[in-house]
Amino acid sequence: MTDRRIGVYVCSCGGNISDYVDVARVRDVVEHEPGVAAARTHMFTCSDASQQEIIEDIRNESLDGLVVASCSPKLHLFTFRAMADRAGLNRYQYVQVNLREQCSWAHRDDTALATEKAIRLVRAGIAKARLTEPLATMRIETTPKVLVIGAGVAGLRAALALSELGLSVFIVERSSDVGGWTRRWGKMFPHQQQGSDIVAALSARVRHRENITLFTNAEVVEKSGSVGKFTLQIRVDGFHTIPLVVGAIIVATGFDVYRPSPGEFGYGQDGVMTLAEFKELVDRSPEDLSRGGRGIKDIVYIYCVGSRQSGGGDDAHSYCSRYCCATAVHTAICAREVSCGLGPAKDCIGFHQFHLFRDMRTYGKHEIPYEDACRKGCVFMKYGDDDPPKVDRVDGRLRVRVNDQYLGGEEVEIDADLVVLVTGMVPRENAALVDVLKLPVGVDGFFNEIHPKLRPVETVVDGELIAGTAQGPKTLPESVASGLSAAAKAAALLKKGYVDLEPFIAEVDTSRCVWCGECLDACPYGAVEKTSVQGKEVARILPSLCKGAGACIPVCPENAIEIAGYTDAQVEVMIDALVREVVVEEVAVPVT
């Protein structure tokens, strides 16, 4: 038996659930579960009226547990937590049951089976609620200062946004100047601004802001503390060290360009260069494209070099870099302008550009320069994934052979003055920084976000955000958007003055722990340390560093660690409730 008083609220979701699940029957069955003191159905549990009714139940019935069976927790978890707060119930004694996405919508063909499953799901929620205990968030006061690592465009734009919001910003840049790759580039799509001008304008704005401090030739060498108050050591000019205290960190360390191996598509031969090298050549050519005193008239672009590789082992770059198709097309237009001016194709006789691609990914606005390139005489040829072009040197001249799928796979030979390898982005070498920040890196080598769509600039390390191409390949506008997004997240965190950390973290049962060190090795966040309790060496969890992933749990040979909210007892009673028989007469759907 239990002395718990739990309220259970089953939502119809305006028919999204009740069209396929007999919600009244679910309520009628589960209201007899041990500990249930109130059970109701609502048309929309999330409505203000329903929430008010639940709040009154919590107060009038002295409820000490709450189960809301409605939609996915991704939608209304925080809604109902806030409701629990308003009612005076500990927010972690509320359990959400997913009756919509994981029941009614998936089992629309059989109301009886969907209803039976709903009963089992709600029973599991009740079983978990019976074992909930009031948990407390850890409130940490925040320092209204932000460290931005990397002074590329994403970092500079994030710093300016934070500064305008009244937060002090420190920018740490590893090189001697700001602007990253953009500083080196000329004309850029869509506004045809020079990259160097974009950086100069941003840099001027940064230098005029009194609450931004910029360190160049600097790097972060030490970090301690956690969200709200990180203490850092910045090494400047290789020798002197400056201490900083900030509330949040934005990592905007940018990317590197893929460097082909010697011989890869002829790389290393005279006349074979990467897209980045070619762009610099075009940018510094005021008129007539030439190299070594010789005019360049025939250019072959080979796309997807170092991108979308498969079966190449650990070093393979299986992802698409997104920006390379668009940049190659735009650079081709710029190259034509240098050689022939802005006139129509007939004014550009003798200048040829051949684009050998796998899939043309000039998405969004980048379709405009692609169509422009087509009109201006660029020739596009499609090669197969397993049939890349071959680059040779014949009679002193570069020759590219490609089987063009547009011509039914027929081989085409092109003699070229220049072969441009359209290379993608690769993660920047940041091993020391990764070690200092304890930030997770994905299998692609870029910093890992919590979720690419739902939480794209947040990491599992509270207070550490990622922006721009440090997170993955992006175009310049996308990098700016990412930088602003990270700035908004940091500001939301710090402007409130405090941050509440979730209490779902690891706990050590010191009576079982024998300090074998397995948990220490399993934790990548430095959240485990050795301590002594009554003369016995045991593990201790540092709450502000623990992320609650639970990687330390299965490796513990003494079963001495649990995650709050996912204890053995809670998981096992949920399993028991999920498998428990449902009597047929309980779920029988009445004939109407």
């Binding site: 059989d110 979720h451 990548p524 990687a551 995650i563």
Partner: protein, 139 residues
Amino acid sequence: MSASADAGGGGDPKILVFSTNNISDPGVDLAGGSHMHYSASVVVLPVPCSSGIKPSWILHALEAGFDGVFIAADGSDCAYLADCTTRTGQVVQKAQALLKRHQQDPRRLRMAAICSVCAESFVSHMEGFREALTEIGSG
């Protein structure tokens, strides 16, 4: 009358899925949101990360009456650990050894990475596992 309907999905094997809050549970949600169908005998229990699943939970599920346990792992999308797949694989290895020691068929445990948009993959895995468990039978 008090006949039991414990099979849940109209006689289908009972499958417990361990999903993960950030990655595979949204994938399972998407399957429902896309109105894809899978057996009602499949129930989902979300945890923070698949590397934190205890082998003892898996044994408990099978001994309690589930016919199979499926770990919808974070895979390479894991926000916590770059080597999550390896670690979850080690959990599976330990669990299968535990199942053998308790005379449970290790084929009743499966793992696959399910990303946050892997709705079709999830449904396909559920169908494949349902068929495999039906073949294994209740023994």
